[in-house]
Symmetry: C2
Subunit: 121 residues, 2 copies
Amino acid sequence: MTENRISSPIPATAAGMCQLPCPMPDIVTLIGGKWKLIILQILIFNGTQRFGELKRQLDGVTQTMLTNQLRALERDGLVTRQIYAEVPPRVEYSATPLAQDLESVFYAMRDWWKRNQPPFG
Amino acid sequence: MTENRISSPIPATAAGMCQLPCPMPDIVTLIGGKWKLIILQILIFNGTQRFGELKRQLDGVTQTMLTNQLRALERDGLVTRQIYAEVPPRVEYSATPLAQDLESVFYAMRDWWKRNQPPFG
DNA sequence: TCCATTAGTATCAAAAACGATACTACCCCA
DNA sequence: TGGGGTAGTATCGTTTTTGATACTAATGGA
């Protein structure tokens, strides 16, 4: 089994001495960027997806970019990659428990959006 | 008073047809990037700050960068800018109610971090 | 007179993010 | 024989983000 806990080499952040909720720089490193949150949301709420399936839902992402982002997410323990020895090739991506645990963050964002975005609340 | 509600011109996102929590591309546009979440966290949890005060807490940000990010946040209704006609000049930045309302997102992130990051949980 | 202070702006450079295109391998199928 | 389908990689170029540096205005104080 893979070790899905966060192991940051740099504990202290710029806001280390005050009572702020959490080390944002570390979090931004993990899930920041244009695609990661979108990818994670799909994997968490729509379940396992294969590469092309994911790409079709991403609207504008290039193959290279999607590969890069998935590799980074895999490296950070947020996504697993399952290769099937088939032809044509089949690779499936899933959210790890660590990523699944981000569910409440997405719900908090959804609630914020619903409260403040009248046309779609 | 300013209108602090989100007014996105593009309602539909790539994941419009499924039951995903919220339109991540729009949210990433608002609070994505290297600095915005860090700035917002400070303003929300530590209160109003003047420019230099903020800069000192940011660790590595340049003056230009901080100005840009604050301008963007102001434009999107997440931050207000209060200028005092003094010498030397004094400008104070505050989180708007719209930004304050993001509090639960930060708490969700903190909880996630605490659950999954043993050395600091 | 000159320096310190604060919050900038303007400009240029570097780095990172992002995108387009072309290429591979494999097997099936017509 | 040649195309389709999948999941890539490799390369290059562009665009965006980020950083470094120098500059401004205004006033008080040494």
